[in-house]
Amino acid sequence: MTQQISFSAAEFADNPEPRCACLLLLDVSGSMAGTPIAQLNEGLHAFRQELLLDPLAMKRVEVGIVSFGPVTIEAHFTEAGGFIPPALVARTDTPMGEAITRGIEMVRRRKEEYRTHGIAYYRPWIFLITDGAPTDGWAEAAEAVQAGEETRAFAFFSVGVQGANMGILEALNPHRAPLKLQGLQFRELFTWLSGSLKSVSSSTPGAELKMDSPRGWAVL
């Protein structure tokens, strides 16, 4: 019996643990050049290190990264164990609307794969980090975010770095208030994120989210 079998079938057979997809939507517009992007890269490394310390989270958490602008898929969803942080470079504008739409589509496709392969999953997280305002239309993205939150298809969080238009972030997702990053505390932000993912991934797939206070990196 020789049948075609996709690489993902082998991947899920080796690790059939329930999955918690976490998509990072990262702003790499020109204004992030210099220290901000360096700190962001450093934060991603810390994120990986933290996840690697927890063998169960390593199997359950999947990280995907989309940077913008222009919108680029930096990493498809991979187990935290195999996740290698990309070296992000600051580039041009801030097509946030397109990035969100693409990100939501990536999450939807990944969930479809989980279902096809009989893998249980936690509500995926989408985590937007930006220091500006969209340079493209974002009405459609906001609609998709709200629809996703209402149908519990995913949880959408946004973090504004110094200079971000917090008003737009608030309008994007009325269900969850945006958080404002203290200075360039990316490392603290990612340590918190990995901690939250660890506790989610040790709870029950599909259950309600419980998160630690973002004290230490967010302006409260």
């Binding site: 079998i5 690790n15 059939p16 643990e17 290190q49 199997k59 498809h76 009989g118």
Partner: protein
Amino acid sequence: MLDRLVLEDGRPLTLGQELGRGGEGTVHALPEMPEDVAKLYHPAHFPDAEKQAKLRTMVQVYDDELATYAAWPSHTLHRVAEGPVIGFVMPRMGDRHPIHMLYAPGSRKRLLPDAGWDFLLCAARNTAAAFEAIHSRGHVVGDINPGNILFAADSRVALIDCDSFQIREPGLTHRCKVGVGHFTPPELQGLQAFDAMDRTVAHDHFGLALLLFHLLFGGRHPFTGVPLRSEAGEVLDTDIRAYRYAHAPDAETRGLKAAAGAIPVTLVPEHVQALFLRAFTEEGTHVGRPTAAQWVEVLDGLRGSLRRCDRNGNHAHPAQTGWCPWCAFDSQGLPYFLPHAPRTRRPMLEPFQIHRFWWQVEAVVPAPLPERPDVDRLSATGTPLPKAGRGVLSRLRLPKAEARQRHEARYEAEEAFQEAWREVEQKLSLQAFQACKQRLSTLKQTYLELARLEGQEAMAMLDRVRLREVERLLRRHAVEDAEIPWFSPAKRQRLATAGVTTAADVTREALGRVPDLGGTLVKALLDWRSGIERQIQVDPIRLATGQDRERLRRIADGRRQDLEEELRAGLATLKELEATRARQRPALLEALGRAAARVAQARADVAVLG
């Protein structure tokens, strides 16, 4: 730091090195009880009166057999005799790993490359036996989850976090207040809190059957599968509550069916399938689920009827399947077990933990170099001069001879003392020890850098995959078909003769070798190629094959293991160096002391001469 504590019977206990740290407290070695460890709660988590009573009861009902299955508290710890309980002593669990590292095929293949299904069956049997030991004493585990059960390289298992168990004593039940939803039976799903109810062994029987299923069927949760209805497969708790057992004969009407690559439940004989069916469906809730003792018996029976495949020694399976299910999975590209190759692959039985290893290095503390004895501070009384004779000669000669003798003796004593000190300096020198430790420290640094190095290699691998794919796609574009002005048939012919037939061959270098193309055409061809390249979208992560990843992993594993061996050997040398120093030290110090005393005496003897 609290390092002196007392046990419940008043005996004092010294707290050793910290071995681990968790949310509730720290775990320490116990120099006086090497087979045990101590868990000490953080002051913020000191047990309340109820928890203290529970721990005291657990200590009272402790027995040695229980301790082989569970990290059961054997003593309570107190700051002062009769004081509140601030921790407890429990058996040391040694080198063990969470059970999910065993039942998930990927991590199992890395950890125990030569463990077959027979090993998993044995671990399943031992898991049932551990539950039987707890249940037969009237206790309930309660919070069953994959992080609370550890396995060892010999397939034995141990339950940890026992202080959360539900403990029975006559007339009183100490409750288990926690639980994880996806290991909770259908009848308890939806419950807001666990602290208001007594658990029963029937609840444990559900969690136990789940664990056994995970072990025997490739780590899949029996209530996960391909959803056949929109409400199925969304929340695992809901699926459990609705009895959506994906391997039931009527699974399709329940809402989930087993995934394509999953191990079918028909791997095991019908009577074992029937036990799982009862455990996971309504019948189990209403009539009763298989008990731990029943599982031990049935799994032992299964162990007696295994076959091993001729083609792969790691392919053990129940005799009833007739053919080897694992070979069938192999041919589908789903290798549940690796080829049997015990000599070429070094098993990573005990994953190396550099921080834990470093504690062992730090624990080798060298005895300091002794101080050079200060001879002037040693008291000695000079030997009186012998009485002089009567003769003039003897009155002159004797003191002279005596003086010479004493000066010589002093000279010799000083020499001998110098010699003894040189020997001490040389044999008890810290130099070799420090050099060895320095080397270990460098190795440790290299080890810590491995993750970054592996990351870089993975990026390089992905780059190669990308180039490979770009090249493959470029080959699809024939130069012949390129729509370029000034591209005459003769020039096309010349290019073909030179071997430039597809876009992949179009490089400045290759074109330079073709005579008389003309600069305009060369540029046009290069532009044509880069135009195609720009349109190519390659996702190397998806394209990297199992082989690409496997090769990378082999290199990384080999390098890690070499480094681990070097570190272990270095630690052994360090220990040996210090052991040798410690062995030689008493004799050397004694010799040095004697030599110093001799100098002091000789000096005093000379001083008497005046």
